[in-house]
Symmetry: C2
Subunit: 713 residues, 2 copies
């Protein structure tokens, strides 16, 4: 696999920094210190107008004074001073940069102009850069940290991409205290050049990174993002939090990276389509990301629960079940083998409940190993492992009893080799998450975390994390993506659109809309367009009553409310009356659609919407009167493959209605999938089409057909 | 207000403990140590068969040797030894006890018997007791802690009731590290005598407790619980987590406290009815409980966000909005006053974003105060306050710069008086929650926590917590509860039920069911019961076609599938055919219901179900084919007041369908509320009724009527 340009940016052998000084209050200095102190082994060139040395290194007054063009230049200077020095690096031949400096697109119209100039310079000198308005990068492969905060702990396996600088700087103390360790991290800032998709692509290919977490406020190249993510997710889990869907969230996002806030439901659809696991808090972004990065792949959804107390055991069970896991009762045989290891009366059917036993070996090593080897579980959640943390907690009350022993001595005496406990998941190749009320001051928590077993501070979180592995399994189990087949344009469709545009219509009339859909093989209701009473009566006879009459005119909205739709017409007489009534109410001679009257309680909708950022998206959901009331609609980026169309069906809550349900006719899902897949391609063929709104889709003998449609040009 | 017996149990002036020794490995010793070391000032009597002194106090070989009958006796002895010593305390006149000992109901049939004997003894000697199988009690008023773990920090305002011992022992280290402090806590164990309702009632009256959190696996006296909670929640927030709804969760719960697992949706309805805020994790039980306990009442839902970074600001905004808050853009005037206090370009419309400014005074004191005084916000969420924690995080990189300064000196130099910051919410009587990635090693986190401002380790949690205050406001804003009015029994109903029971029917036939409902003023569809073709035709003429014909027999199920229902009968001929067809298919002479044919896409259901634990419950939700597919049904304990019936309507997702919606007839909610309230009382009047299932309820001109009903006896 060819390495991306971003690999080079992440692996400089020499770095210049502009803005670092010897003043520890300055941000630039902190950036410089991180590079030096976190162990970067390459060359380091501070550029400073006045100082002779900076942070112990010879300083250079200008880029032109440097002994060589550094691989990477980092800028932490006020925005007004940036462009000349940036250009100077271009002139000496530096090809990669990080612009920490803020005051660009996020800062209003002047900033937008400045950012344009920066991009121009970068293009002129072929510089690829991260930022502006970012916190920098981290690459644990080469001990490189260009952010302002020290990174804690050994290199880890989680890659992190963030549109908020905070999450790759101010959170390091938080991460260190939870044993969560990153492989690489990038704060992308305003994405004037490098964007999250570039970083995602890079981390997708990075061997050190086994899972990727992304904090997202906006995606500027949705289609490429989808393409890249779709390639990665079958082999490497990708987790994302999307923020900015609320009005105030958008307001905040807009001002802080200058990005456009998007529509939450479109991001939701995009993530599902791409196989990305969506999470809803930064805590999950870290904790679930860390779990996916460290744990063996899960083989099924059967979870074994080991606890030292009923409450947490039940909480784990409830949370697991709510998230798609099963907690099968263990076989008689397995229970027989567990029972002797537990206090008497302790339940062992799953959960295995040690009921406040301090025999930690059995609880954290023997029983987990037994469960994993039994073949009866695919993963384990463990609550209650504790030793030194618990002792420290009760220590204040112990000195009276053991007068001689200091806290340190008590802790030291209790500290053990926990290899058997912490290696259990890896020895058995079965994932495990741990819940503990004790932090890293407890040896169990610390040793688990330092050996890649995630520890959560509550049972629900540990359960949620193991469920994420099951979720990822379902992503890996998806049919491999195959691009949607091509759809051949029809002459009918071309003609219909041409005629409408010639008449300067902004929408097709209902009859034409359905004709267009039908020309692509989408089944529509039996109907005829009639220009006279006689035609209407004849059509009704041919279709056979009951029928519907509706005025057909692309310019008239809300036909039902205006009395221009007549339902349940049982005979010719009724058709005649309805025809006359419509003409009278319309106040003009209008063509009329005569259509088969068909009622079905199961009404669905399908449509194509056009979004500025996402392009055309397919919508599918519950239709009729339930559309707005229940909002049970799912979205995907168009066009959709057959597999993707099948997934969108199963994504809505009302999917049950599409299955063999309460004795209703079974629905032919294949036909529905085909309808959606075809629909999703129409806007690509006919670029004049802005939106298509089919509502309702009804079913006759289980076969879907379009009862009403609107096509906006 | 008269003090409950439980107040006496919680406030002993003398305590005896059986099971404490001088062996620090024994649980009994740990219980004893907590009492002594956490500062209990009353008399302390260890009872021990052999030791002369225990924990430095004179030990007594038997309760009969005690100088007086202690107010409270605590038992931590093996189950087999419990009864004799328990009885001895009864004999000397002790009235309150805590039975920590396990091995009772939770441990199988032998344990059930033992528990019965314990209860008998308690009744005999008038002893009220907590447990068995519990962890004990905490009462910070008198510095009493009978659990095995030391309690950390000053007394707090949150009362805690738990059916899991873990949450009032093993979590103390966790709570201490989050600054969450309890006023009182009770681990109720098996609830052989004292149950959570007793404790709830007590905490409801306790002045030191300003909010109550409950961990619940089962409620044994649902109606009393509802009565007690309903009295408390208008004045004091109550939060609950219910666990045990999953099969494995129930299995775990059953084994650990011997309680019966319940139905999640009934608990959900109960909590709503009682005005209890439901949470879904123990973390929320603590954190949201703590927020409700410490913060001033919120006056509205307008939240101001202050942040030092865009990401967390957006995350707070999104989470707040998703939970019923608004983040109004600040007025021009207010923005003008904030702007000069921020770095240039920093957004201030709400969120106010300091963009990594370390000017903490402005961020944590000046601006929050300004916002609170502006009248434009009802609450504030703050992210990014930090000082010593941040300095400690970056300290490893600083020694090179300030060679002389140790970490302690740096921290000391940065430590300030933060009174203005931490008092802001209380000075303004406006609530605030804080989000920080720094724990109590940061002075801000510590000082906030120690001064009753809740700090959360992620922005989403701080946002969620402030929303809980808004949620509680909506509970306080409810109409005061008035007991449901009485419903007078009808003669018709008595007669119908008598006739059916005389015939040994297990259900009323459909016609009788609707007649019964109608006798109470519940509107039903126009219909007639017909025993011949002629009667059917006449009835159809009277009702006017189209009509429905259905076989009427309480023993025949699935009539539609059996062809015993004919819809859309347009004339006498069709009625005749349908009548004949029904008789033929039934293979016997059956009476037939002739009913008005009426179709409405809005179909709802209402019913009464009978649950072993909850008694009769009212169900209301989306009906027709959507019943199972969408599961949009809500429950309440019967009977319901008019106010409660009104609430259940608004509780379902599809409530929109009941409002003026898409030009459909507006529904008369008053009539629907009245229908539900009447329905909820029927099983109280007619104890023979087990279940009532009305599905669908349809609407004619916006007025509800029952189209089909089943009454099970």
């Amino acid at each position: 696999m060819s390495r991306s340009f971003f690999h080079s940016l992440m692996n400089p052998s020499s770095i210049a920094i502009v803005g670092a000084s010897n003043n520890p209050q300055k941000m630039g200095t902190l950036h410089g210190l991180s590079i030096l102190k976190d162990g970067f082994k390459g060359e380091f060139y501070p550029v400073h107008p006045k100082e002779k040395t900076v942070l112990g290194f010879p300083a250079y007054a200008s880029p032109f004074d440097l002994p060589k063009a550094p691989d990477l230049a980092i800028f932490v200077v006020p925005a007004v001073h940036l462009l000349p020095v940036f250009e100077a690096f271009g002139k000496i031949g530096t090809k990669y940069a990080i612009v920490v400096t803020a005051g660009f697109k996020e800062a209003g119209s002047e900033g937008v102009k400045l950012e344009e100039k920066l991009k121009e310079l970068a293009r002129k000198y072929n510089i690829r850069f991260v930022g502006p308005n970012c916190m920098g990068i981290i690459n644990r492969d080469i001990s490189l940290n260009t952010t302002v905060c020290p990174i804690i702990g050994e290199p880890g396996k989680l890659g992190f991409i963030s549109q908020s600088g905070t999450y790759v700087t101010q959170s390091f103390d938080y991460l260190g205290k939870r044993g969560i360790r990153l492989s690489k991290a990038v704060s992308v800032g305003n994405e004037a050049d490098v964007n999250i998709t570039d970083v995602l692509e890079y981390l997708g290919e990075d061997d050190q990174t086994t899972a990727i977490s992304m904090y997202i406020e906006s995606i500027c190249d949705v289609k490429r993002f989808l393409r890249v993510a779709r390639r990665i997710t079958p082999n490497k889990p990708v987790i994302a939090q999307y923020i900015g869907g609320s009005e105030a969230g958008g307001r905040a996002g807009l001002s802080h990276t200058g990005a456009m806030a998007g529509k939450d439901y479109l991001y939701d659809g995009l993530f599902k389509q791409a196989g990305i696991i969506r999470v809803y808090s930064v805590e999950e972004l870290y904790g679930i990301g860390w779990t996916l990065a460290t744990q063996p792949k899960i083989r099924g959804n059967r979870i074994g629960i080991i606890t030292n107390s009923g409450g947490p055991g039940s909480a784990i069970a409830d949370t697991c079940e709510a998230n798609g896991c099963e907690m099968p009762p263990f076989s008689e045989d397995l229970q027989k083998r567990i029972k002797p290891l537990l206090p008497s009366h302790a339940p062992c059917a799953n959960p295995v409940d040690f009921t406040f036993d301090l025999n930690m070996d059995t609880m954290t090593s023997t029983v987990p190993d037994l469960l994993m080897k039994s073949g009866e579980v695919d993963g384990i959640v463990l609550h209650g492992a504790m030793s030194t943390g618990f002792l420290a907690a009760i220590y204040p009350y112990r000195p009276g009893l053991i007068p001689g022993a200091s806290l340190e001595e008590v802790i030291k005496g209790a500290t053990k080799d926990l290899k058997d406990s912490v290696q259990v998941p890896f020895n058995n190749n079965i994932p495990m998450t741990v819940s503990s009320f004790f932090d890293r001051s407890d040896q169990f928590t610390q040793d688990y975390e330092d050996n890649n077993v995630p520890v959560f501070d509550s049972p629900e979180k540990a359960a949620h994390a193991i469920s994420a592995l099951v979720k990822y399994k379902s992503i890996q189990d998806r049919e491999p993506f195959t691009p949607p087949s091509e759809l051949k344009a029809t002459e009918t469709a071309y003609r219909i659109i041409r005629e409408a545009t010639e008449k300067k219509q902004t929408a097709l009339d209902e009859y034409a809309a359905k004709k267009l859909l039908a020309s692509y093989g989408i089944p529509v209701v039996k109907e005829a367009l009639c220009y006279s009473e006689e035609e209407a009566i004849k059509a009704a006879e041919k279709i056979s009553c009951p029928v519907v009459l509706k005025a057909c005119d692309p310019t008239i909205m809300h036909k039902t409310e205006k009395g221009l739709v007549h339902l349940h017409l049982a005979d010719s007489r009724s058709v005649q009356n309805a025809y006359q009534d419509i003409q009278q109410r319309a106040g003009q001679q209008l063509p009329v659609i005569v259509a088969e009257m068909f009622q079905d309680k199961r009404e669905f909708l399908a449509g194509l919407t056009l979004d500025e950022q996402f392009g055309h998206c397919l919508a599918f959901g519950l239709g009729g009167i339930f559309t707005e009331a229940l909002g049970d609609v799912s979205y995907r980026i168009a066009p959709l493959s057959v597999g993707e169309a099948d997934e969108i069906l199963r994504d809505i809550k009302s999917f049950t209605l599409l299955t063999r349900y309460r004795g209703m006719a079974e629905i032919n899902l294949k036909l529905l999938v085909s309808l959606l897949s075809i629909l999703s391609k129409l806007a690509l063929i006919h670029t004049e089409i802005k939106e298509i709104d089919i509502n309702p889709i009804l079913f006759k003998g289980g076969e879907p057909f379009v009862a009403d449609a609107l096509i906006v040009l």
